[in-house]
């Protein structure tokens, strides 16, 4: 289990106790690892369910005893006594079921929850690298996690069935070795046959879950893009596409169900044949005089009785097949490679070998630098022709620096690199002379706060969003004023208590952008990186925002990737990035250059 340990921002996760490394080696490991987290519930449920079975099987026995000892001319006291025994048995079976079922439900729900938490922890974790559509992830975090849980819910029932089966086998063995052997052989054949049949079910169940996830993905995508769709009248086409996916998913479910049916009929057939064998064999033994009548009747009764537990085991193997298929789908996500290595992990791994680098890191961490960013030959291109774009510049601490880049793809890469969404193919980004790769992600992101251009608001009110990163009301207020988000609060119906919707869609485009800007300003980070922060805002407001932000960020480092002259005019210096190289100069100086004017004039 050399799985990478999932790392969370250490400062912001006080709530949940660590559960140890997540077992991602194989789907089996994941499934059993998840079950192991609920050992106690599973044990309790197994014991209680077994007790329940015992109580159930005692009912006819107690009835028989009551009749022979009390009904058949016993005393008043004896009928009272035996009704008391019957009551005690009912209390036993009822209570053991009650608490067994509750323990089992706890195991089921918490196992599913645990798997869900492992998955989401990996997905929303700082290292990134999970690239599945949201609807697909939702499907894995709900349906698949629940299927793993469902097996946990099935587990105790299966254990109780196995206990009953074992007990019955022991009793039967005491009657006749041969009959006992038939039970043992029958169970073995059943399990082997089911195992091979369940492989098909596992595959089909995987396909079923995949198709369901596809339908869910489409539904989610469709609702989130509903405005866009309706704008071009394409909603019906999109709904049709969903219907097709839904039908495919339905067909896949049918397929999976039919192999489940096969699995169940194999079980039914084998248990039936096993009953046939016991009856034939027992009858023959009895006729032969090797088994007395009483034992024959008991043996046949038992044989019929164990069919129930055998069916349960057969059902459990179907649940197991499905759970494994789902565990594999969860594992795929857990095992996806991180987009970037977190220095925390690296430190642990190279502790001994690379002491020098460690020290280096420690210096970088310890010395709360002033917030100077340096780009040393950072390649911004992916495609061959863009490889020529190399960022070579220093953003002095405490300045507001603009970056102008003609290629929007390359420009978008700059904030991404600073946020360590990924690392550059070549070159180094340094924060106060320390390569940012060597800083723990959480430290880096606390000091260099990047507001992505597509930053989304989170559900809640305007106030929730404004204060998402800063607790201090005065800081929030200052930030809101600088981003002209105070005007948003005035414009919306319930002021700062107005809900913004799922992702901010109840605000206008410019309102959304201003709230997102205020949110990061309030955190007052040593280094703030903005990328085209006011594209949805009118020119008057934009100019006001740029001026106020410049004032608010006085003495702190601010990097603005933009071509908007309103921002560039407020910058202490501007980096002009062209295929020919980097030029660093004030905005006014660069305005003399045609290339620059071309870029910022639109």
């Amino acid at each position: 289990m050399a799985a990478p340990v999932l790392t969370r921002g250490p400062r912001r996760t006080p709530a949940r106790p660590a559960t140890g490394p997540v077992p991602v080696g194989s789907s089996r490991q994941l499934l059993w690892g998840a079950l192991r987290t609920r050992r106690r519930d599973l044990l309790a449920a197994s014991v209680l369910y077994s007790t329940h079975q015992l109580g159930e099987s005692m009912v006819p026995v107690v009835i028989g005893l009551t009749i022979s000892h009390a009904v058949d001319h016993g005393s008043r006291a004896s009928i009272g006594l035996w009704l008391g025994v019957l009551a005690a048995d009912f209390v036993l079976l009822s209570m053991s079921y009650r608490f067994g079922a509750r323990a089992s439900m706890r195991a089921k729900q918490h196992t599913g929850h645990q798997v869900r938490m492992w998955l989401t922890d990996r997905v929303v974790g700082p290292a990134g690298g999970v690239s599945h559509p949201p609807g697909d992830l939702l499907s894995r975090a709900s349906s698949d996690a629940d299927r793993v849980g469902a097996y946990a819910g099935m587990f105790a029932i299966a254990v109780a069935a196995a206990v009953v089966l074992t007990a019955a086998t022991a009793v039967l063995l005491s009657f006749s070795l041969l009959l006992g052997a038939v039970i043992v052989a029958g169970t073995a054949v059943l399990l082997v046959a089911q195992n091979s049949a369940s492989r098909l079910l596992r595959r089909r169940s995987g396909t079923e879950q995949h198709q369901r996830a596809r339908a869910t993905t489409l539904a989610e995508d469709l609702v989130r893009g509903l405005r866009v769709l309706k704008g071009i009248g394409a909603q019906r086409n999109a709904a049709d596409a969903y219907c097709r996916a839904s039908r495919t998913a339905g067909a896949a479910s049918l397929h999976a169900t039919s192999s489940q049916a096969t699995l169940a009929s194999v079980g039914a057939l084998l248990t039936g044949l096993y009953l046939t064998a016991i009856t034939g064999l027992g009858g023959w033994l009895a006729l032969d005089g090797r088994l007395d009548l009483g034992r024959l009747v008991a043996a046949l009764g038992l044989a019929q009785f164990v069919i129930g537990p055998m069916r349960v085991l057969s059902g459990a193997s179907a649940a197991y097949a499905r759970a494994l298929a789902s565990a594999e789908r969860v594992r795929e996500v857990l095992a996806s490679e991180s987009a970037v290595q977190d220095a925390v992990q690296v430190q642990v791994q190279v502790q001994v070998q690379d002491a020098a680098q460690q020290q280096h890191t420690a210096v970088g961490r310890g010395g709360k630098g002033a917030g100077e960013i340096a780009f040393a030959g950072v390649a911004l291109g992916g495609a061959a022709d863009r490889a020529a774009l190399r960022l070579e510049a220093v953003v002095p601490a405490g300045t507001m620096t603009g970056v102008v880049c003609g290629d929007p793809v390359a420009a978008a890469r700059i904030p991404h690199l600073l946020a360590r969404e990924h690392d550059p193919s070549s070159g180094t980004v340094l924060l106060d002379h320390v390569p940012i790769r060597d800083l723990p992600l959480d430290d880096l992101r606390a000091r260099v706060l990047v507001s992505p251009h597509e930053a989304v608001l989170l559900p809640g009110t305007v106030a929730d969003n404004l204060a998402a990163l800063a607790a201090e009301p005065a800081a929030v207020e200052r930030a809101a004023a600088a981003a002209f988000a105070d005007q948003v609060v005035e414009a919306v119906p319930a002021g700062e208590r107005t809900p913004v919707g799922d992702r901010g869609e109840a605000l206008s485009g410019g309102q959304r952008q201003r709230v997102a800007l205020a949110r990061v300003l309030a955190a007052a980070p040593p280094v703030l990186v903005l990328h085209d922060p006011t594209t949805a805002v009118d020119a008057v407001t934009e100019a006001g925002i740029a001026a106020r932000v410049g004032r608010l960020r006085q003495g702190l480092t601010t990097l603005v990737v933009t071509t908007s002259p309103a921002w560039l005019a407020r910058c202490d210096q501007v980096v002009l990035l062209t295929p020919g190289g980097c030029r660093v100069a004030p905005h006014t100086a660069l305005l003399g250059e045609d290339a620059y004017r071309e870029l910022v004039a639109r």
Binding site: V124, G509, H587, L599
Partner: protein
């Protein structure tokens, strides 16, 4: 237990009656399949009776000391029953799946088809999670519960019926003795149905909240990482998940109490029989054999009765899901009833290009105050109208009304003189490029084909070329076949806008409305995007909402919107010299942009 934020206005939930009506239509034409399923289930349950019969006969053969050949009959019967049980069991499961799965698929398809016709605001108010959890989680719940319920209903009903056949052999006094169990069972069932319904209903809502929390996290990953909000979102997800678990636990507590009370009923019945047997045998009115038969008979009957009553639990669960699913389909939008026909030939343009007009339009979101206060404007055929105004002044709202996405609260939007909302699929002629871009999960070509599913590769290429996207699309790993959108190749905001323009290009509408469709033109792409917009507008009527004045200055007419009112209109030169809001917006824009104009 309460959500941390204001409760969203969820989509409606159906009444029991609506659910029944819906199921009736769903089952229409499937009665044969239903009958077949029930028959297979009944056969399977009946075959289980072969066991005791055969075993009884085998025992009798032993008792009678017959030859071992006498065993052949019972053994053959058992073997045949085993084979037949396997076959009928298989058939029952598969037939049931064929009955339930397509029906439930139909249901979710109906739900989604209805949702897309609802006003955007109604859908957005509930949040994406509400709908998505209905068409995924609820569907799963319903199909599981429905399959389980039908199976155990048929099985236990049959067991009860076959057991009751043996009732005649019993002394009637024993049957009467068992009667006290019945009121307990009836009362328990009533109590349980009352208790569990709200738990299941609330549990489904909690499941929707969990889906919302998960989706919020999964759709905001870069933001969560950059702002270090991942851990707090993880906590929210954990809380929502724990909350939905809590309902499951409550339901289990109720269900185990339910079964506990049924156990009490069993004991009451059984105890009464034994007591009566004791008295009857004592007074010599019955023999021990009859007493034994009666007691074992009733003990055997209780299991299927419990199973039968347990069916109500499954139905209750399925009902909670069904109400949410059917609930969506009950809100048929007033305008544009969903029409299964493809409608008139797509892309048809009216013979004479009509003009688009807003007349004294007022509009407010939901219960909130109006954001448009009597806006009137007119776009003549072929004319380009620009709308400018400060942020939050109502431009996007106006654009959505002009495109028919929303209905005015008062006043009217007309196209060629007819109210827009009365027109069938007004979007056939009017296309709106919304301020919010969305890249759908799928290939680049899939994204463009959304508007016109039949478009050929050549048309796709032409549309991409028209918006100047060919170069970067070709540079993608698989060209136009590259997967983009959620989980796919990331695009810049500008690229997403180019695709949005290309979609409309492919649609070829007679009126285009561009809401900040070139706002992301922050660089080299600006020229391409401006050209794309210009090319798109060419030869059509257009409404252009833009903060970027490159899109505004040469418009045929410009209206200025301030706080939901048109405060000025005219051409660029007229408005600039008139002073006011337009002039100050223009001044702010042209500052620092010395190269162009002036």
């Amino acid at each position: 237990m309460s959500a941390p934020h204001a409760q969203p206005a969820l989509l409606p939930v159906a009444t029991g009656r609506q659910v029944r009506d819906y199921l009736r239509t769903l089952l229409r034409g499937r009665r044969l399949l239903l009958a077949g399923t029930v028959a297979a289930m009944a056969a399977q349950s009946a075959l289980a009776l072969a066991g005791p019969v055969a075993i009884g006969r085998a025992t009798q053969a032993v008792v009678d000391h017959r030859s071992s050949a006498a065993l052949a009959g019972p053994v053959a019967l058992l073997a045949a029953a085993a084979l037949a049980a396997a076959a009928t069991g298989w058939a029952a499961t598969v037939l049931l799946a064929r009955l339930v799965l397509p029906a439930i698929a139909r249901l979710r398809e109906d739900a989604v088809t209805t949702v897309v016709e609802l006003p955007v605001d109604a859908v957005e108010a509930g949040g994406t999670g509400d709908l998505v959890s209905r068409v995924s989680g609820d569907v799963e719940l319903v199909s599981d519960a429905a399959s389980g319920a039908l199976g155990s209903f048929v099985g236990s009903a049959l067991a009860i019926v076959s057991a009751l056949a043996g009732l005649a052999a019993l002394d009637w006094r024993f049957a009467v003795a068992a009667l006290p169990a019945v009121p307990i069972q009836a009362g328990t069932l009533r109590w349980y149905l009352r208790t569990s319904r709200p738990i299941y209903a609330a549990g489904r809502i909690a499941d929707g909240r969990r889906a919302s929390a998960l989706l919020t996290g999964f759709t905001a990953l870069p933001t969560l990482r950059a702002l270090r909000l991942g851990a707090s979102q993880q906590q929210r997800i954990g809380a929502a998940s724990a909350d939905s678990m809590e309902y499951e636990f409550r339901a289990t507590r109720a269900a185990t109490r339910f079964f506990g009370r049924l156990n009490l009923a069993e004991f009451t019945g059984l105890g009464a029989i034994l007591l009566v047997a004791f008295l009857l045998v004592r007074s010599g009115q019955a023999d021990v054999g009859a007493a034994t038969t009666a007691a074992l008979f009733f003990a055997g009957l209780f299991d299927p009765i419990n199973a039968l009553l347990g069916v109500f639990d499954s139905m209750q669960q399925a009902g909670a899901g069904l109400r949410r699913l059917v609930g969506i389909t009950t809100v048929r939008p007033a305008a544009a009833p969903p029409d299964p026909d493809p409608g008139p030939d797509p892309g048809r343009r009216p013979p004479t290009e009509p003009s688009l007009a807003a007349d004294d339009v007022r509009f407010g979101y939901g219960p909130g105050p109006d954001v448009l206060h009597g806006v009137s404007l007119r776009v003549e055929p072929g004319q380009r109208l620009a709308v400018v105004g400060t942020t939050g002044s109502g431009k996007s709202t106006l654009a959505s009304l002009l495109a028919g996405l929303r209905e005015p609260g008062a006043g009217s939007v007309t196209f060629g003189g007819a109210a827009l909302t009365a027109l069938d699929l007004p979007q056939r002629h009017i296309a709106l490029v919304t301020q919010e871009t969305h890249v759908f999960a799928g290939s680049v070509a899939d994204n463009l084909r959304l508007g016109r599913p039949g478009a050929g590769d050549a048309e796709i290429r032409a549309a991409l070329a028209a918006v100047g996207a060919t170069a970067w699309v070709d540079a993608l790993p698989d060209g136009a076949g590259t997967a983009i959108g959620g989980g796919g190749h990331p695009l810049t905001a500008g690229q997403a806008q180019q695709l949005a323009l290309a979609r409309v290009r492919l649609l070829d509408p007679s009126v285009v409305i561009l809401d900040e469709a070139t706002a992301e033109a922050g660089s080299d792409a600006a020229r391409a995007l401006d050209h794309a917009a210009a090319a798109l507008v060419e030869g059509r009527s257009a409404v252009v909402v833009a903060h970027r004045f490159t899109q505004v200055v040469d418009a045929d007419a410009i209206v200025v919107l301030e706080q939901g009112r048109v405060t000025a209109h005219g051409t660029h030169d007229q408005l600039r010299s008139a002073g006011g809001a337009y002039a100050s917006l223009w001044r702010a824009w042209s500052q620092g942009r010395p190269a162009d104009e002036d």
